[in-house]
């Protein structure tokens, strides 16, 4: 046994020397460092997992509430954007109400057209300006395309307009080319009729009828209607069926004109 132990001592001393002066030490060091790194990482993950879990839950709640707020904001902004776009379009439309300055002799009030049930039934229209903005009975209502009608009732904040297709509406017009004068009246079904046309009057389908400017209500040479058909009535005169040049279904902004006595 003694010999065995002596050999063991010699072997262990040899092993120590071999370990000290060979690559084994470096290899062991690198293995130890690697294992320490992995252990530290694992320990860090285990330690921080509850905190991450809590953070994740807390973060989720925060994100959910932020999300709801952002959604609200997005809706608000998209609404504002729509309004802004509409306003831009409205501004463009308003700017185009007076092309070439043909209404410059009149004081102009921009109004928004409200097509309510009256439009469909009574050939009337509501506008959003009243006596507060200077609207008055008898004022002409026009846009860039032509004549729309005339104000017949004024409230504080709104006015009622008789359209040119209303049977109670009459307007003196002239043929755009020949300048022959005639009286146009609304026929009540979206059309305008001109009666008592002399046979010698050169009027045919496609002609544009314009204002005369002699009534101090409408400016001169503003389109009113377009002739659709000329026909003979059993009274010795011709009649012309016309349609308005203004598309009442597309009305948005209109101009209320008051004649300036300059």
């Amino acid at each position: 046994m003694r010999k065995f132990k002596v050999w063991l001592i010699l072997i262990s001393v040899g092993l120590i020397a071999f370990d000290k002066y060979s690559f084994i030490s470096n290899f062991r060091d690198s293995v130890v460092i690697w294992m320490q790194k992995q252990t530290s990482l694992l320990f860090y993950r285990i330690e921080s997992y509850p905190r991450l879990l809590l953070l994740h839950t807390t973060q989720q709640q925060e994100l959910a509430s932020q999300n709801a707020q952002l959604k609200k904001q997005v809706e608000e902004y998209s609404l504002l954007l729509k309004q802004s776009k509409n306003q831009t379009q409205d501004a463009t439309a308003v700017n185009q109400l007076n092309p070439n300055g043909i209404y410059d002799d009149f004081s102009q009030i921009v109004a928004k057209a409200i097509l309510d049930v009256n439009f469909f039934v009574n050939n009337q229209m509501l506008i959003d300006v009243g006596s507060n903005k200077g609207s008055q009975i008898g004022a002409a209502v026009v846009n860039r395309e032509g004549v729309i009608g005339q104000v017949y009732n004024v409230n504080a904040n709104s006015s009622q307009v008789t359209l040119i297709t209303n049977p109670e509406f009459k307007i003196y017009v002239e043929q755009s080319v020949t300048k022959s004068k005639m009286l146009a009246q609304g026929s009540g079904n979206g059309n305008i009729i001109v009666r008592y046309l002399d046979k010698n009057d050169k009027i045919q389908a496609g002609d544009i009828l314009e204002t005369t400017g002699l009534d101090d209500v409408y400016p001169a040479r503003v389109p009113v209607a377009k002739v659709v058909k000329v026909f003979y009535e059993n009274n010795g005169f011709n009649s012309a069926l016309c349609v308005p040049v203004v598309d009442f279904h597309q009305l948005q902004y209109v101009l209320v004109l008051k004649y300036d006595n300059k």
Partner: protein, 157 residues
């Protein structure tokens, strides 16, 4: 041999894992396999194959120079033979005291080897932790779970 020492092998694997965790995750740097070596040596129920393998494993996992534990345990074995009988019949307190003394001597030998070779590590807190906490615990487990029957004890000269 493996079948005869299954419990010891399993126990040593667990101890290696525990040593690894303690050394890397706490402030202590312990040598648990050295405690097992001392307990086996004092208990007398060992064979040199077990001691050699355990010594090399203790060096590898404890990051000591290969052969340190083998040298220390070989030197200790010269003195431990006389204390084996007394150790076997003693209660837990004398056993613990004796084991701690031999363990301290083993650590001293390893420390001297480290001083000679050039790498020294000292930690009084680790030493106290091993002596006060680990030594009684490992002795208890060795006695109750690893070495269960007296018929398992084989004496070698």
């Amino acid at each position: 041999m493996i079948i005869n020492n299954v419990r010891l092998i399993i126990f040593c694997i667990i101890l290696v894992f525990a040593q690894f965790l303690i050394n890397n995750l706490t402030i202590f740097y312990v040598d648990i396999l050295a405690i097992v070596l001392v307990c086996l040596l004092l208990g007398g129920n060992y064979n040199w194959t077990q001691l050699i393998i355990l010594s090399l494993l203790a060096d590898l996992f404890g990051h000591w120079y290969l052969g340190s534990h083998l040298l220390a345990i070989t030197i200790l074995s010269v003195f431990s033979a006389k204390f084996t009988s007394f150790y076997r019949v003693s209660n837990w307190l004398p056993r613990t005291i004796m084991a701690n003394i031999f363990f301290s001597i083993l650590l001293l030998i390893i420390y001297l080897i480290d001083v000679i070779v050039g790498k020294v590590f000292t930690s009084l807190s680790s030493l106290l932790f091993e002596i006060i906490v680990l030594m009684p615990l490992i002795q208890f487990i060795l006695q109750k779970f690893v070495n269960l029957r007296s018929s398992d004890i084989i004496f070698y000269d």
